[in-house]
Amino acid sequence: MMDAVLIEQVTKQFDSFDAVSSLSLGIKQGTVFGLLGPNGAGKTTTLRMIVRILVPDKGAIQVLGQPLGDRTQDLIGYLPEERGLYRQMRIREILVFLAALKGLDEAEAGRRAGAWLERLGLADRAEDEINELSRGMQQKVQFLAAILHRPQLLILDEPFTGLDPVNAALVKNVMLELRDQGTTIILSTHLMEQVEQMCDSICLLHKGHKILDGNLKAIKKSYGNNTVRIEFSGDRAFLNLPGIIEAAKFYGEVAEIKLLSGADPQQILKAAVEQKVQVRKFELMEPPLNDIFIDKVSAGDA
């Protein structure tokens, strides 16, 4: 299958510092792709190059099999991290304007805007000006502006900031629905939980370099089942097991334990039984993405 986005050996410099250096990436069509990395890693620069706001100094980018140009522009929906809307325009007006800029007929844009506003619970605000809306509402309008023209490639930079859990779930459902209809989604976020729930593959950037990429499940598997999650009541001293445990994090009566490589997780259960600690739940699992992230990034810093 054709890649939705193909980035080949792309470098972007700003005043002699490399924001992105020889990055190569392929993003499969119809998947959710997570673009991750600490602040200043080059995520926004990469996204800006895909939407043709910035031009790479070296390398080439293709979107849906075509080199970047006026035609690819209309196939992309973009929700930037730094975003806003004209304050004195009405919601429906601004949605129609932004969709028309992507080549959609204005009458059709008006119809779709009505339907989507209905779905996101903003139908009665359609004729209100943007400056009368709460931040969360503006956020939803911005999200709609990115999807109204039914882009084949949807780029979302931190789409959940400012949304309450109910609205975040609403947006998430729409995203998954679009993916099921064949839309490719690039998701850039610091919320690792969302990435784990939604992304098929990821790429981790650090200081402009790719330090990890691939299928999310495969990445986690490569780290092996080296984590134990245990729910218990009693003294946590039983976890004092040098030679088996590398680190442990406690959340009340839950512990997330990272095992040393080659250690037998059964030793933990054994210790619990010996020290008469009640175990309610015992789970052997892959490491959370959060840990992989921190692990990789601090290794990159070293």
Partner: protein
């Protein structure tokens, strides 16, 4: 092209429905209407105004001729009507004091004193007047007193004034205004006022709409919607649509002003009679060709300045920085206004010609020349051509600064950084 149109349309619609636009558009015709009404009520017209005059003839034997000459010339439209209330030969000091109090109370407007030494030419006659209107009588009075004096002196020489009637036939000098090679009977004041007004209008609208473009760029930058926009449309197209749109808004305003002012002028006298029967509206003669050049030079100047203002708007992030960045541009426009006098004094000197074809200065200065003494067409064409050429250069530079600037936040770039922006791809 379609996307430029969309940007144009959005900007235009959201702009013409703002309170600022609506207010500005109705304010000027309203002001004209107010001025018309006030002028009708305050001054009336020259023909409706009568100066009541008393003549104190201390020299003796002069008052009769003065009165006769004054009344004979009363048909002349340049002078107010005169009514000679009384003539006193050899007045007493009490009579003089009485006249002064009459002026105070407004029973008469002026009195003329013909002192004893007048015939010998030792002292001047005195016209005591209460207001400006009565002072316009100075010319006619001077003429009448001269006639009386000459008559008296001739009589003393033993000649009969009646025999030499044509000696007193004074020459009339009429002001003739030379416009585009043809001669028109017109008072020169009109042309002057129209020229100044056209210059002022250009000056104000260039600044207002230039800053309007700047604010529009700043709004898109500060709300960050610009990042969404430039992911859909090229920055150059966005800039083009925006500048064209603000220009169209300005033209709309010009059109509405033109139509309403035209209506006020053509219905002005009817309106004036409605307010006060017998009154006439002050009339200005504005040559249509000037209106056309006004629009042409507004556009020439606007595109040049607006692209600079847009670049300035893209550089800055805060209102404070915006005030600093717009300063040099406003000064540039003000500069043309300061050179106004040079052109006004000698519109056809080499300096005036050079200044009035220089881009940035040409909009205001060439319009001024067109209003006073129309320059040869090649000079006008040269001014327009140079302005368009300059616009092409400036808009290219501005677009590069704009493209980088709209995505930059934080501190204002130095000139060195700006030069680097020009090289970014």
């Amino acid at each position: 092209m379609h996307k430029i149109w969309l940007v144009f349309k959005r900007e235009y619609i959201t702009r013409v429905r703002t309170k600022a636009f609506i207010f500005g558009t109705i304010a000027l015709p309203l002001l004209a209407l107010v001025i018309l009404t006030v002028s009708v009520f305050l001054s009336g017209t020259s023909s409706a105004y009568t100066v009541r005059l008393a003549i104190l003839d201390e020299a003796g034997g002069l008052a009769g001729t003065v009165k006769k000459t004054l009344l004979a010339n009363a048909a002349n439209k340049d002078q107010p009507d005169v009514q000679v209330i009384e003539t006193l030969e050899q007045p007493s000091p009490e009579q003089k004091a009485h006249l002064l109090s009459q002026i105070e109370s407004g029973d008469i407007e002026a009195f003329l004193v013909l002192p004893k030494g007048l015939i010998a030419g030792k002292v001047p006659a005195e016209l005591h007047a209460r207001n400006f209107r009565a002072m316009t009588l100075l010319g006619p009075v001077q003429r009448a007193v001269s006639v009386a004096l000459i008559t008296r002196r001739l009589t003393q020489e033993g000649k009969q004034a009646g025999d030499m009637k044509n000696v007193f036939e004074l020459a009339h000098v009429q002001l003739v205004n030379v416009m585009s090679g043809k001669e028109e009977n017109d008072s020169g004041d009109d042309t002057f006022i129209v020229a100044i007004a056209a210059g002022m209008l250009l000056y104000m609208t260039l600044i207002i709409y230039g800053m309007s473009t700047m604010r529009s760029v700043m709004e898109e930058k500060s709300t960050r919607i610009v990042e969404i926009l430039v992911s859909s449309i090229k920055p150059f197209d966005l800039l083009t649509g925006k500048i064209a749109s603000v220009g169209a808004v300005a033209l709309t305003q010009y059109l509405i002003w033109g139509i309403t002012l035209g209506a006020i002028m053509s219905f002005g006298s009817r309106f004036a009679r409605l307010l006060r029967p017998g009154a006439a509206a002050p009339a200005f003669h504005i040559p249509p060709v000037l209106l056309i050049y006004l629009v042409v030079f507004f556009l020439a100047g606007y595109f040049l300045y607006a692209s600079l203002y847009a670049a300035a708007g893209a550089i800055v992030s805060t209102d404070e920085e915006a005030r600093q960045a717009q300063m040099p541009l406003t000064l540039l426009i003000m500069g043309s206004f300061l050179l106004f006098n040079i052109v006004l004094n000698d519109p056809n000197s080499t300096l005036s010609v050079v200044l009035s074809v220089t881009p940035f200065l040409s909009p205001i200065l060439m319009t001024l020349r067109v209003a006073i003494v129309p320059p040869p067409f090649w000079q006008i064409a040269l001014a327009i051509g140079l302005s368009i050429a300059a616009t092409f250069v400036v808009i290219r530079i501005s677009a590069r600064i704009y493209r980088v600037g709209i995505l930059m936040h934080g501190k204002r770039p130095s000139l060195k950084e700006l030069r680097r922006w020009l090289r970014y791809t």
